[in-house]
């Protein structure tokens, strides 16, 4: 369970990105966060694993993120897999090496130093690759893959952590519509099959409608909508966006 209590984020430059957020996300939920760019979606996601200077209280399965020491933060992060808009793969390294990065916090320091990965970690990495269906590319350079394949490697890296929570920050924003749907389906399936709590930032409303269960709308760093995605109507979106919906807000609209 993730619980935000009066959580705020002010960046060193003075930019207030999140103000007084109260939220509870139960285990196994599939949550989609929408909002304009700059509304605080990324910040909300990153306050879960302590990547941003957050005040108030954020607890992850009972562990407090705010004011946690370095090693406490590391322990929290071990259970949280993250997926990025730009994939954040090491292009020169093999897919396998990238997926194994998810295991770094679990292996002894000397083993990672010498690159002597235990067999069970390799097995976990291969299983993760199988789950996203690109195990045959395991020994290919990451930079040689297409965008969609790279993002699946990103998902596999998160899965290799054997996480309880997955945070996905605009996972399809750099992908074409067809691949976007594939990646979203992968995430949905993983959530259902493994029961991993999944929180996704999305820009496109139709993708949010098609795959989300619970929808959280952010505007100017505050939660302005929180409810079942089936109940949401165009007025709610107008409230979240502060304007009418345009084709740019839809994946299909943007594609045409």
């Amino acid at each position: 369970m993730i619980r935000f209590t009066n959580a705020s984020v002010v960046y060193p430059g003075g930019l207030k990105a999140l103000s007084g957020v109260d939220l509870t996300i139960e285990d196994g939920e599939f949550v989609v966060i929408v909002g304009l760019s700059g509304a605080g979606k990324s910040t909300l996601l990153r306050s879960v694993n302590g990547l941003v200077p957050v005040t108030g209280s954020v607890t992850v399965n009972g562990a407090e993120v705010v004011g946690a020491s370095k090693s406490e933060i590391r322990a929290i992060r071990t259970d949280i897999g993250m997926i990025f808009q730009t994939f954040n793969l090491v292009g020169r390294a093999t897919v396998m090496a990238n997926v194994l990065m998810g295991r770094l916090s679990m292996v002894p320091r000397w083993r990672s130093m010498l690159g002597l990965w235990p067999a069970e970690d390799r097995e976990l990495a291969l299983q993760a690759l199988e789950r996203v269906g690109i195990v045959e590319k395991a020994y290919v350079r990451a930079s040689d893959l297409s965008g969609g394949q790279q993002q699946r490697v990103g998902i596999a890296r998160a899965l290799a952590q054997d996480p309880k929570i997955i945070l996905a920050d605009e996972p399809v924003a750099s992908l074409d519509p067809v691949t976007s749907h594939m990646v979203m389906r992968d995430l949905q399936r993983i959530n259902r099959e493994l029961g991993i709590t999944t929180i996704i930032n999305l820009h496109f409303l139709d993708l949010a409608r098609a795959y989300g269960k619970r929808l959280i709308g952010l505007r100017d760093g505050q939660v302005v909508y929180d409810g079942d995605i089936a109940d949401v109507n165009d007025d709610d979106f107008r409230e979240i966006y502060g304007r009418a919906i345009t084709p740019d807000d839809l994946l299909e609209g943007a594609a045409t």
Partner: protein
């Protein structure tokens, strides 16, 4: 008829200031040669400065002329009285003290500029002052260091007997002040650093040229007796007795191998030690801000110490021999590698680092898995390059007792055995070329 848009004026060209500068320098030159009485030549230099300002349309006020002339006279008087009565060689510190008057002259010129042209930044005053001061201090010091001012009598200075660059001493000083101060003024007007930059460089070249005793004539003269010189070096003597009375043997190869070994050790250890320092000294990978600043400073400071200084220092600490040489080469490689490598790391993609961090990895793991693969090929290329540099550098460290072929080279040149020196140089040349070809070959296959 359509109305034409108004044509813009050409931006201020530095060329338009050439005439005033040359005119002012001319006035100062004539004046200084004619009169060597301090108050007089100082006043004339002040007037020359005024002429420059007037020709550039900055000031035509009589009061400015009077102020400049009096400040100039005072500066010259001070200059003369500090140097007065010294029969020993003038030292740098005395030069610095004697030039203080010109600081005031420079400040006056800057002040007139700022007063008459309100758009000019008031910083111009100290800039002009310090530049004029440095110019005179350098000029007089350059005279001092080559000993022109040795056994100087104040009378000689006054009578203009003393020569720097073939001209009377005070003329050189006056011209420097005029050239530098006016160049700065026009630099401000043209809003370009090029004018003062070029004038300053030219003056410094004169100083330096004079100081190092450079002489084209000597080069020409030596070239004409190149045959005699060649006979000293040729034919190279490949073998000679190691100790007096023993059979002549080839004593070059063994120290050359020692040099290679020193280079290998230096490059390997230095490049390894450079890795952590480089990651600390790069923005994306530094653990904390203080670490970053400290690493940068350490690198900047270590970079200023030349290879042979390291060798001399280590030789004095751990004794003469290969150990001192290896240590020196380690420092040499470490500094260059850390600098080059940290610049490469600065430009890496921070995404994988974030990905590693969010999975809960420790600092060393983030670096090893997120950053290192990105920069590995560049690292290898740099390591080979540094190995090449090491060969060249390790050849010479023996001169200060740090082992290798340099020791032999120094020994033979001390005894003027130029034919043996030639043999050693040929061996060095061959080794360097072979290593370079090898390194190029490897790099081509790697990348």
């Amino acid at each position: 008829m359509t109305s034409l848009a108004q044509r813009p004026l050409a931006p201020t060209q530095s060329r338009q200031f050439t005439r005033p500068i040359l005119a002012a320098i001319g006035v100062a030159a004539v004046a200084s040669v004619a009169f060597s009485i301090p108050l007089l030549w100082g006043a004339l230099i002040g007037l020359a400065l005024f002429a420059g300002l007037a020709l550039a349309d900055i000031s035509r006020a009589t009061i400015d002329a009077i102020v400049l002339a009096s400040v100039g006279a005072a500066a010259a008087w001070w200059f003369d009285s500090v140097l007065d009565g010294r029969s020993a060689a003038i030292e740098l510190l005395i030069s610095l003290r004697a030039g203080l008057g010109w600081l005031v002259v420079g400040a006056t010129v800057g002040a007139i500029l700022v007063l008459r042209r309100p758009t000019v930044n008031p910083v111009a005053v100290p800039v002009t002052a310090v530049s004029a001061y440095l110019a005179t201090a350098l000029m007089s010091a350059s005279g001092a260091s080559v000993g022109v001012l040795a056994d100087l009598e104040a009378r000689q200075l006054r009578e203009g007997i003393l020569q720097v660059l073939g001209a009377p001493f005070h003329l050189v000083i006056g011209l420097s002040v005029v050239a530098v101060a006016l160049a700065i003024v026009f630099g401000y007007l043209a809003q370009s650093a090029a004018v003062p930059g070029v004038v300053g460089s030219a003056l410094f070249t004169l100083v330096a040229y004079n100081l190092v005793g450079f002489s084209v004539a000597e080069i020409v003269a030596e070239t004409s007796r190149v045959g005699d010189l060649a006979r000293e070096f040729w034919p190279p003597q490949w073998t000679w007795p190691k100790t007096i009375g023993s059979e002549p043997t080839n004593v070059i190869i063994e120290p050359m191998i020692e040099t290679l070994q020193i280079a290998v050790i230096g490059a390997t250890v230095g490049c390894l030690l450079a890795i952590p320092l480089a990651f600390f000294a790069s923005r994306p990978t530094t653990p904390t801000e203080p670490t970053y600043v400290a690493a940068r400073w350490i690198l900047s400071v270590l970079r200023t110490i030349p290879d042979l200084f390291w060798a001399a220092l280590f030789a004095s600490a751990v004794g003469f021999g290969a150990l001192a040489g290896a240590l020196a080469m380690i420092m040499f490689s470490l500094v260059i590698m850390a600098k080059l490598f940290s610049e490469t790391i600065d430009s890496i993609d921070a995404g994988p680092l974030e990905a590693a961090r969010t999975s809960g990895a420790r600092y060393t793991q983030v670096i090893q898995y997120g950053a290192f693969p990105q920069v590995l090929p560049t690292y290898v290329a740099y390591a080979l390059y540094i190995f090449e540099l090491n060969i060249r550098a390790s050849v010479v460290i023996g001169v200060v007792g740090a082992g290798g072929i340099g020791r032999l080279l120094d020994e033979q040149r001390t005894f003027f055995q130029w034919d043996r020196v030639m043999a050693i140089v040929i061996v060095i040349f061959a080794a360097v070329i072979v290593i370079e070809l090898f390194s190029i070959w490897v790099r081509r296959r790697l990348l």
